[in-house]
């Protein structure tokens, strides 16, 4: 691992150790925050007991569903919009300001329409994630060099072969960046919706634990969320970096 990587780990370890010490020494009230070691312990016990496992699976299932819909739908919409320059021109300002609007204000509307079920939650996940994928697709297709179309003609390739064998791989690193963002945004959209109002799910369980002053459960599930989100993101980030590096695309 790189030096920076080690420093990063050290910083996290020190922060956790400080929090642990502060809790143990009574600097932080136990009723506010429990020590990290206790969070981990609570999480292990919670998972073993299986008490909320169905809720956990439900939420992660919804996240995956929302991410898949966003990735596929966003890609398809991106391809269509890219092929229609006029439509794109009229949509551009909308895309540019999309994430400046708190999309959550539409959540109650969706509940009114679809009822208190999983559907509004999936839709919120998709609504948060899909535009990132559309933008990434447009961005990727913009960067497909013109000369590839000429190369395709010299190889006497048809439109579909050109799209699948040349344009798609040429745009792939940008598409993957879109996928990475879509997964993160789907996470945020789904958990936050569940938190606000939902019949079930991880967000709901955390929110219930909070109302019941059940600190052990609340922090255990928060820890679980952080771990899962971090691991998934680190994995996608590593693949993203690998693709970009191989292609010589500078990425931070």
């Amino acid at each position: 691992m790189s030096r920076v990587g080690w420093i990063r780990i050290a910083v996290i370890a020190i922060a956790i150790a400080l929090l642990e010490a502060s809790c143990r020494l009574g600097l932080i009230d136990h009723r506010v925050v429990i020590p990290p070691s206790e969070m981990a312990d609570a999480l292990v016990h919670l998972l073993i007991s299986g008490q909320d496992n169905d809720q956990i699976l439900r939420t992660f299932g919804i996240v995956v569903l929302a991410a898949v819909i966003s990735a596929i739908g966003g890609f398809a919409l991106g391809v269509i919009i890219h092929a229609l320059p006029r439509v794109r021109q009229s949509l551009d300002p909308f895309f540019a300001t999309y994430y400046a609007v708190p999309i959550f204000i539409f959540y109650p509307v969706m509940i009114v329409i679809f009822g208190l079920s999983a559907i509004p939650i999936v839709l919120m996940g998709v609504a948060t994630a899909i535009v990132a994928m559309i933008i990434a697709t447009l961005n990727g297709l913009d960067r497909v060099p013109q000369v590839l179309t000429k190369v395709a003609c010299v190889h006497r390739m048809g439109r579909i072969a050109t799209a699948l064998l040349l344009k798609l791989p040429a745009a792939a690193p940008h598409l993957f960046t879109g996928l990475k963002l879509a997964v993160s945004y789907a996470f945020i959209g789904v958990i936050a919706s569940e938190f606000i109002l939902a019949p079930a799910g991880l967000g709901r369980v955390i929110s219930d634990a909070y109302t019941d002053f059940d600190n052990r459960k609340m922090y255990a599930l928060m820890l679980l969320l952080i771990i899962v989100a971090t691991v998934v993101n680190m994995f996608l980030h590593a693949v993203d970096q690998h693709l970009a590096e191989r292609r010589g695309i500078g990425k931070a």
């Binding site: 060099p145 013109q146 000369v147 590839l148 000429k150 190369v151 003609c153 010299v154 190889h155 006497r156 390739m157 072969a161 064998l165 040349l166 791989p169 040429a170 792939a172 590096e245 191989r246 292609r247 010589g248 695309i249």
Partner: protein, 275 residues
Amino acid sequence: MSVAVPGEDIHASLSDVTRVYPGVAGTPAVHALGPVDLKLKRGEFFAVVGPSGCGKTTLLEVLAGLQQATAGTVTFEGRPIAGKVPDGIGVVFQEDASFPWLTVWDNAAFGLRRNGVDPAKIRRRVDDALAFMGLTDFARAYPAQLSGGMRQRVCISRTLVLQPRLILLDEPFGALDAQTRLLMGDEVLRLWRRTGATILLITHALDEAAMLSDRIGAMSARPGRFMEIVATGWPRERDSKIVSDAGFGEITGRLWDNLRGESMKSLGHSGVAAG
């Protein structure tokens, strides 16, 4: 040494060809090329020189069948070219056209795989082409790990494996320094001798044109036309050492006489005729 006597049969031709880019959304139409006449003899090495923006790339793309001529006829091996690149023509573009997602080896194998060639044959031809272009050690590398010159060689390999009978090169070494360009020129000469293909090389470098070709067409500023076609009379067995030949200076001098005024025009000077 045998003097290069290209076959007399016409391999590809442009007759009275013009190309006008139609105006898009209010912009005026651009008359980029012609009318030009050009008869490429089978097996000859023809270079086109001319100021930038004079229509060289347009000429190449019309000849390749990548663009439709606005007027005139284009033929390859006796058949008119119509809206499609015919089999037997290979093109190396001005821009880097290597596939960054494939290794050097897979780049070179691309066309053969698409044509469904037998894998053993693919392996033989690709290995051979990479060895010829000095890329054997980089077969597993990705284009991003290579220099610009090597990436162009990857593109040449990708064209070479398909064994084209007419190879069109559009300023393939434009981005390289002068010394590297001379050496790449030697490689193109080797390639030409080995494959026996007809080569049309577009370049903005007079010395490159003078050193490599049997004949050189000097183009006017846009709309590009051939002002003069200079025959070099070099032997087929030649290389970059020819630049110290007495005749070399004479040829570049003659090209420059033709091009000086035209280059000035393309710089925006008007009415300055070449001596």
